[in-house]
């Protein structure tokens, strides 16, 4: 029953759980049910580096306008973890709700007068209805999902349909899930006034959309690009890239006649070996990649220098997490930028791509292979935990069947035969790329690949001129790559005339920064927007930066790495570059950007910022 205060399809709620208890599937069920109702939705999993027993949270933001950045203003918190009651209760917005397990009494001191407490005896209900101890724990999750469905007016039939799809073949499990869902749903219906003022209502915004995480999309990109060799070492948050790639290969890469595999996936002994395998395969002519996170990139530095100097294609996916060192493996950051841009000793520079969401993970993964082969060099796809491991609503991925892989300058046997002699590092094209030959093709194309000093003939050298000749060409090659990098996304501000400032960002900060610009516009502050999508930076990015008095570079690291890279690699004067930094490890929210911006321009307006969702982040701790 809608009333004057009702808020349809514009709210956020958070589920506080204990990890390892099966809550993830219940939370995923809620997210997917809202998606199926055609409503724009985003989910963020804030989980610990642990297998069982530590606090874990899942946040869902429902927003009819398609705002997908993290919201920090929770209308409802489902508090299923007694360990974190205190901090969870603090986070409910004034006038909001807290759903908790009333099988045990709640400490009176925790109560808040401005929050409505809704108690459902989930544990008790499950003990009464289920026999097995494990089942009682698992079904508690489905039961709270049932209550949330009633409270938020999510269509029960949609949730039931999802259960049917998941457990259709396991009858007993399906029945238990249905029963648990109904338990929570009915209890809420009977005891509370359902739905609450904020609620879901069917829309039609998701017809052409899918719900996918970035790691799966990246793996799909590698599959479609025709990658045949993959090597990896398990590491959070990159593991699911290779697990997805394996699943996809099993499904799409078995020869229909022979049943044999048109792929080789090697779990290496460490990241050093993983990138070594990729380089060996690239040298032999295969499209090959590895996926890793910051600690792996650190280990791969030596080999990256070899691939750069010996000019061997290699694709790396860096799903960034919080550093330095082990850091916080299950938290997100963009702090590997400088490491990746210049990885390895000596003068080295690499090509980087910055996807903002899973759809770009797919697109850029394909592009990585084309760039790596065209420029005969490593390409690093810089994803992060937020993009890689969270489910995002993005347009359906599509494929153009006219795509032909860009294999770069690889000489065919006929071309080799026509040469009087083959010299590996001679005969460069307009992009400073020299043709290569593959092993096994022709004795005339044979040469020795080396990471030691070499001249344009491919021979060993210690002579200054010969050495510089080659490394200067490599620098030219890196500069030339700028024209092949996806151009920045630029959006003019809503104000009239030339905007004096811009917000510039990269990767997964996209949604929060664009929303922040909108919120600022509503307050009469208009700025332009640019999202950089790769390195080396192109002319377009440089022109944009030079056209604004001040560019605020929004990024998720302490040391303003993107700003530094811009200062180092473009003509933009440092005075035109300022930083807005957020590096605590959680996905960015628009409120944080607004608050950061207002303090940067000397107009801190905390009250207003709070209204925009800029509450200080109290979710620290929870280490693994």
């Amino acid at each position: 029953m809608p009333d004057a205060n009702s808020r349809v399809n514009d709210f956020a709620f958070k589920l506080a759980n204990v990890n390892g208890t099966g809550s993830a599937s219940a939370n995923g069920l809620l997210m997917q049910a809202i998606f199926r109702m055609g409503i724009p939705v985003s989910g963020k999993n804030l989980f610990p580096s642990n297998i069982q027993g530590l606090p874990t949270w899942y946040e869902i933001r429902v927003n009819k306008d398609g705002r997908t950045a993290r919201a920090l203003d929770y209308d409802l918190i489902v508090a299923m973890n007694a360990q974190t009651y205190a901090r969870d209760i603090k986070e409910v917005r004034p006038g909001g709700y807290l759903l908790f397990d009333s099988s045990w009494p709640l400490d009176k001191d925790l109560r808040r007068a401005d929050v409505t407490f809704l108690g459902v005896p989930f544990a008790q209900l499950c003990v009464e209805h289920f026999r097995e101890p494990r089942e009682r724990i698992l079904m508690k999750n489905v039961a709270y999902a049932g209550s949330v469905i009633a409270l938020l007016d999510i269509e029960l039939s949609v949730a039931e349909e999802l259960l049917q799809e998941t457990f259709g073949k396991k009858k007993a499990l399906l029945e238990s899930n249905h029963e648990a869902l109904k338990l929570g749903y009915d209890f809420a219906k009977q005891n509370f006034e359902c739905p609450l003022a904020f609620r879901a209502r069917r829309m039609n915004a998701n017809g052409d959309k899918i719900l996918i995480d970035g790691n799966t999309a990246t793996a799909l990109g590698a599959l479609y690009a025709g990658c045949t060799v993959a090597a990896w070492y398990p590491i959070t948050p990159a593991t699911s890239v290779m697990e997805s790639f394996k699943t996809l290969c099993e499904r799409y890469r078995k020869d229909p006649q022979t049943g044999k595999s048109n792929f080789a996936i090697l779990q290496a002994e460490d990241e050093l070996a993983a990138i070594g395998i990729v380089i060996g395969a690239g040298w032999a002519g295969a499209r090959a990649f590895t996926s890793t996170a910051g600690p792996g990139i650190s280990l791969m530095n030596e080999f990256l220098g070899l691939a750069y100097y010996a000019e061997i294609p290699a694709v790396l996916v860096d799903v960034q997490r919080v550093g330095p060192s082990t850091g916080m493996p299950t938290r997100t950051q963009q702090a590997d930028l400088l490491l990746c841009a210049y990885a390895s000793h000596g003068d080295t520079k690499h090509i980087l791509l910055f996807p903002a969401h899973p759809a770009e993970c797919f697109e850029f993964a394909v592009k990585s292979f084309d760039l790596a082969e065209r420029f005969q060099t490593p390409v690093i796809l810089m994803s992060d935990l937020d993009i890689g491991m969270n489910d995002w609503v993005v347009p359906r991925l599509t494929w153009d069947d006219s795509y032909k892989p860009d294999r770069g300058r690889v000489l065919s046997p006929e071309q080799i035969e026509k040469l009087t002699a083959f010299h590996r590092y001679s005969n460069e094209d307009e992009n400073f790329v020299t043709p290569r030959t593959l092993p096994g093709v022709s004795p005339k194309g044979a040469y020795l690949t080396r990471g030691s000093g070499h001249n344009r003939l491919g021979g060993y050298t210690e002579l200054p001129d010969e050495y510089q000749d080659v490394v200067d060409r490599l620098a030219g090659k890196h500069r030339a790559a700028a024209r092949f990098i996806p151009p920045p996304v630029i959006e003019k501000g809503q104000g009239k005339g030339r905007a004096p400032f811009s917000l510039v960002t990269l990767g997964g900060c996209d949604a929060a920064v664009r929303e922040a610009l909108d919120l600022l516009s509503k307050r009469g502050i208009h700025g332009d927007y640019m999202r950089i999508r790769g390195f080396p930076f192109g002319a377009e990015a440089e022109t944009f930066l030079n056209a604004h008095d001040v560019n605020y570079i929004v990024e998720q690291n302490r040391d303003h790495q993107l700003k530094s890279l811009i200062a180092l690699e473009t003509s933009v004067p440092k005075e035109r570059l300022k930083s807005l930094l957020f590096y605590g490890g959680f996905p960015l929210s628009a409120g944080q950007v607004v608050e950061g911006f207002l303090s940067a321009i000397g107009r801190p307006d905390r009250e207003a910022a709070r209204g925009l969702g800029g509450m200080p982040d109290v979710l620290s701790g929870a280490e693994g």
Binding site: T228, D255, N262, E269, L272, A273, G280, P439, T449
Partner: protein, 351 residues
């Protein structure tokens, strides 16, 4: 590493192999190693083995890491691609290349520093994967390019030139290989070409990774009195366990199988390795017995050499993962990319 190229000029009347190539066709650039270096003898044995087996030079891929030994791919098979990679990481690069193109003949040349110190992990895992390749360790117990520090294969009590004595126990690639499942384990001596050539031939035809440890004295830094990796010390202490001969498919065997001290093991391609003068109780196909025997010999201060262990029944990396028989580099893109229709259908899984 500078190199001086050497033209292929076979004197008229030189012997040719089945491909019509002379030994010269398997040579490379002039060696820049020290005169008398054991590594050059190993290169010569390898050239001989490749020639005798009539292998097309451009179907070879020469892989190495860093060190004196790792320079040697320049000195043989100039018609083959080579990859002089980074220190201790040759096994990973070779694994990747082999994953991409299973049809090439991979020859990894490494040393005791490259394989037993910095690259111990990579070597061990290449052995576990059973990558089809010849893996030669040119073992001299010392770091040459950095002027004579002990390596991990130095024996306890072995002395450096200035008298410093090694006190740490050595890593023995033969025992290491046997303990982690190597399917072909040999030890030889660079000064014993007669023994080495047939071992290399068998190794080049092995189904998986063939580990060949070759004691290869460093004339500059480790050939003095007090060294246990010198020519003299090795000659005095070497004991050939059995004579191994490589018999190509469809060649007659002179001595009858079953004769005393004779045993044969069939290779996967139909060739045979014929062991003669096998000591009583020794069986090159029985890992535990080989281990026992070698331990007994080494306890007596001997250096047992020969093709010590061979098992042709273990599938290699590709066989284990059921990889396509067509090398992955040759699988057409159309067979790799599922296309727009498949993606459209797959998208329903993400609804």
């Amino acid at each position: 590493m500078p190199s001086i190229s050497k033209p292929i000029a076979a004197p008229p009347g030189s012997q040719t192999n089945d491909l019509g190539l002379t030994v010269r066709h398997y040579e490379g650039a002039m060696s820049t190693l020290c005169a008398g270096c054991g590594h050059d003898s190993i290169t010569a044995a390898l050239i001989r083995a490749l020639w005798e087996l009539s292998i097309q030079p451009h179907r070879i891929a020469k892989m190495s890491g860093i060190g004196c030994s790792s320079k040697t791919p320049t000195y043989f098979a100039s018609g083959a691609h080579g990859f002089n990679s980074v220190h201790g990481r040759m096994p990973a690069v070779a694994t990747g290349a082999a994953a991409a193109n299973r049809e090439l003949l991979y020859i990894g040349i490494s040393g005791d520093g490259d394989s037993l110190s910095i690259g111990l992990g990579q070597m061990s895992h290449a052995i576990r994967r059973n990558v089809r390749m010849l893996y030669v360790i040119e073992n001299n117990g010392v770091y040459g390019l950095t002027k004579g520090q002990f390596s991990a294969s130095a024996d306890v009590g072995s002395k450096l030139k200035k008298g410093e004595e090694n006190q740490m126990t050595p890593i023995d690639p033969v025992f290491l290989g046997l303990s982690i499942g190597a399917t072909f384990v040999a030890r030889s001596f660079s000064g014993d070409k007669q023994q080495l050539v047939p071992i290399l031939k068998a190794a080049l035809k092995h189904r998986g990774l063939a580990l060949v440890d070759v004691i290869s004295p460093c004339v500059t830094f480790n050939d003095h009195e007090g060294s246990t990796k010198s020519y003299l010390y090795t000659r005095r202490h070497e004991k050939q366990v059995a004579q191994a001969d490589f018999v190509p498919p469809a060649r007659e065997i002179s001595a009858p199988i079953g004769a005393e001290g004779v045993t044969t093991i069939a290779m996967h391609d139909g060739s045979l390795v014929r062991f003669s003068a096998v000591p009583e109780g020794y069986d090159p196909g029985d890992r535990a017995r080989v281990f026992d025997y070698l331990q007994g010999q080494q306890a007596q201060g001997l250096i047992p050499t020969g093709l010590l262990y061979l098992d042709e029944s273990v599938p290699d990396m590709h066989e284990r993962s059921n990889t396509s028989d067509t090398p992955l580099v040759q699988v057409p893109f159309e067979s790799l990319c599922p296309g727009s229709g498949a993606l459209e259908r797959l998208m329903e899984d993400f609804r």
